[in-house]
Amino acid sequence: MTPGAQWRAKVLARRRSGRYTVLTVTAPGVADRCRPGQFASVAVAPDSGLLLRRQVWLGASSASGRDGGALELVLDPAEPGAARLADSDKGALLDVIAPLGRPFSLPREPLAAVLAGSGSAAAALLWLAAALGAQGSRFTFVHLPPAEPYGPLDARRLAADVWAPAAAEADTLLAGLAAAADVVYSAGPGTVLAGVAAAAGATPHQAALQTGLVCGAATCTACVIPVRGRDGVSRMVRACADGAVFNADLVRWDELGTIPPECHDGAPA
């Protein structure tokens, strides 16, 4: 992974989308390198007393324009640090590092896809949806509980079908949709993605894991998850650096948050 660029990003615009806030910020020379599934890490001003950075999903990028490129940062003010960032006025400067993580990989030819996301992470899927649509892929969008759906109107504009199941119905719905699809893309917190992984069954599944708070240069190992390597050996890998998009078949979803005895910190094989 090439390291993310760090720069002072100027807030160009701020808009509300349901409970979420979308900031458009300058990203000269960076925007054209960003892809769906990647994220930014943003520092909250240290006078807040909040010292970790926020993992913020990218909702879109535009490579051109007066500012030499811009990014959309999608914030969920339910989290206090994100709420501080969401209060940023037009013209404010933010300490941003991006792009971080691996992006979703797009299919080589048009396919039938299921896009299932929860909360602000759905922003990554909506950006992906635009790319899939441009390519001629057909897809169903599923807003997963418990968070308020992000961008429901965009989803309806882009997707053939949009669902927002209740918690009790989500697994059955997903299992049915996944069985009829070529690929599943998901984004959200680990508990939600574990459910998608179980429902996806044998359908290939790329999952973008939300860890929320991250350190600056992927040095702290607070975000490790157990992942099986292609060599069969499981290792603890950093979700912030080696994800956030994982091949869901290789993640040991039942053991998220634990360190299985044979797993030492390492790089994915």
Binding site: P3, Q6, A43, P46, G49, L50, L51, L52, R53, D95, I97, L213, C215, G216, A217, A218, T219, C220, T221, A222, V224, M236, A241, L256, G257, T258, I259, P261, C263, H264, D265
Partner: protein, 280 residues
């Protein structure tokens, strides 16, 4: 600005605190490791360690509480791979060591003695339950198993500071590193916030306590080299530690907040001494 730390010349008085640069290379694009006076590695143990359960790191007002569980590859792998990679960046490397018992610390030091590029050894004397069982015995073992020209620094918490520092210096420590993260139990409204329950509080929340430790140690041991750390986010913060009597300072939590903080702190410190000797 060069500084002499127990006989080793450092190119700058700002160091990377133990455990806050990962294995090293990830920080390099943001602040070249060679620009720091030295990089103190995360604490290296005899055997590989997987690290503790999640959550491992949480925020606390103006601080972080970490219970990483000292994940690492063990000293053998460290000496073969990580240490040469770190040295290749041009950084001066201080290796932090940790063990369950004095004998385990001794074995880690023995292995490091055979490796090239160890400028100094820092003995992490913190245990999740507080201080290591017998700090003087640990320091004695590490000193005995470390080459004569390589200084040994005792890294202490603020508890029982002067008695512990005196015991460590008596056992052969060449300097002190003050302070380690302070044992703390962050709670959510329903239970412990950390997987390991007990962690170490770092960041600006501990600065006045760390300054007290540096000040008292300086008063008690006028000639002992002291590395100060605890919540340094800015150049003026670093200057406060130097004013309290630190020989050099280490930056930890700030690098988790902003990986370019090292470079910024060094610039601010230089500007400060150039323009405003009396800043608050």
């Amino acid at each position: 600005m060069t500084v002499d730390l127990a006989g080793i010349p450092l190119s700058h008085e700002v160091l990377v605190a133990s455990g806050c640069a990962g294995t090293g290379p990830d920080l390099q694009p943001y602040t070249p490791l060679a620009d720091f006076g030295a990089v103190v590695t995360r604490s290296i143990t005899l055997a590989p360690r997987p690290g503790g359960p999640l959550p491992r790191l949480v925020e606390s007002p103006s601080g972080l509480v970490n219970a990483l569980g000292l994940p690492g590859p063990g000293v053998e792998e460290f000496a073969l791979r990580e240490l040469p990679d770190l040295c290749a960046t041009g950084a001066t490397v201080i290796v932090s060591v940790w063990g369950e018992t004095p004998a385990e610390y001794a074995k880690v030091a023995q292995r490091l003695r055979q490796a090239d590029g160890v400028a100094a050894v820092e003995v992490n004397l913190s245990h999740p339950s507080g201080a290591a069982p017998d700090p003087a015995a640990v320091v004695h073992q590490v000193r005995r198993n470390t080459a004569a020209g390589v200084p040994v620094l005792a890294k202490l918490g603020p508890e029982a500071l002067l008695a512990t520092a005196r015991a460590c210096l008596g056992a052969g420590a060449d300097g002190l590193s003050l302070v380690n993260a302070i044992p703390a139990v962050p709670m959510t409204t329903t239970g412990p916030a950390l997987g390991a329950v007990v962690g170490g509080l770092s960041g600006p929340a501990i600065t006045p306590i760390a300054l007290r430790a540096v000040w008292q140690a300086r008063q008690a041991f006028p000639d002992v080299p002291i590395v100060g750390s605890g919540g340094i986010l800015t150049g003026p913060d670093a200057a406060r530690f130097l004013a309290a009597g630190a020989t050099a300072v280490a930056v930890g939590t700030a690098l988790l907040h902003d990986p370019s903080a090292g470079r910024r702190i060094m610039t601010e410190l230089a500007d400060l001494s150039a323009t405003d000797p009396g800043a608050p």
